[in-house]
Symmetry: C2
């Protein structure tokens, strides 16, 4: 019972206590793209950026930062240009993106597959839509919409199957849940329409 990863895809690295981070990686890279920052501020900005949608904690942020450093996607700015003469003094770590980091960010922002229409993946990508190519935006929006439609369909089917066994509170819960999803679909429709309207040739640079 040990070591059986079929490993069809997924980079076989990590280990050594290394923490992988899907969405956080994009979030960090996306923010650092603007200006260098240290962890504390990164978190504040991140949570301000995402608002009601999501909040990250230090328990995930710092391990992620550590890993990104290791992978060379970000670097400690205070280390490469500081005088270094000051012996041992260091309490702040200012992170900046490296060239590899920028490349990675571009790859992540170009991703328009399933990962980009899951709840987390979508939300975080949407927050960085300003840096995303117009055609990718559209594909993500549409993918998200069909993902939600799928979900609604399966919930509705399950509901139809069990409706008579459910009490009024459960029914109410389902109704509310379904309406939330419907509302998001409507929102997506508006966004898609306005994307299409602003010209299918519009490519947003950087």
């Amino acid at each position: 019972m040990s070591d059986h990863r079929a490993g069809s895809f997924g980079p076989a690295e990590g280990r050594t206590g290394g923490k992988r981070s899907g969405v956080l990686e994009l979030a960090v890279l996306g923010l650092l793209h603007e200006t260098p920052m240290h962890g504390y501020e990164l978190r504040k900005r991140l949570n301000a950026l995402l608002g009601a949608f999501r909040a990250f904690s230090y328990g995930s942020l710092y391990p992620c930062l550590k890993e990104l450093l290791l992978r060379g996607l970000i670097a400690d700015e205070s280390a490469d240009d500081a005088p270094r003469a000051l012996a041992g003094r260091r309490s702040k770590i200012v992170y900046r993106m490296t060239a590899e980091g920028k490349e990675r960010l571009q790859d992540l922002l170009a991703e328009a597959g399933p990962a980009a229409w899951e709840d987390d993946g979508f939300g975080i990508r949407f927050a960085f839509f300003g840096q995303t190519r117009a055609d990718v935006r559209l594909r993500i929006l549409e993918g998200r919409r069909s993902r939600l439609e799928e979900r609604m369909e399966s919930v509705r089917a399950a509901l139809a199957r069990t409706r008579e066994r459910l009490d009024s509170y459960t029914l109410e819960l389902h109704k509310h849940g379904l309406e939330s999803v419907e509302r998001e679909v409507r929102w997506l429709n508006e966004l898609i329409a306005s994307e299409r309207e602003s010209g299918p040739g519009a490519n947003t640079p950087t």
Copy 2:
């Protein structure tokens, strides 16, 4: 400025110690209260019950079941009334509630504190409102509402602080998120009203 939980409720709720799952425990107990079942069906029913709101996986269900067995809150029915003569044959495990389990369920359903107005805790409890005392229902509904209002307030404040730095997509995300919360508050208001209406003396028995 502080983005920490201000702790207006503080330690009064007697945490300070490793606390067990809570959510799944309640779900399992709540379902098993009706009829005995095995894990597979438990999961199906659970996800049908919760619908769009939430879905549990085996990775959490089975460990939870194991722990509940250990704690004596549920028992393996096929073990205590089966002939036992059949040597070694066993593939299904049918769980039933014990007296301790029923007691525990009552305690969980009576809980109307902070744990009951977090996203998960609230949803799961709402699904079992049919088994909850009317006054507890009301307190949970009101607690949930004020929790959401708190959240909206802090998001709005953060938004006001950073609005000018955000691009149109991020603004759209915030708007949508805020509206979702507002919608849930309105929903809660309706529920509260209808709870109050149906008489403050109404105590639902099991």
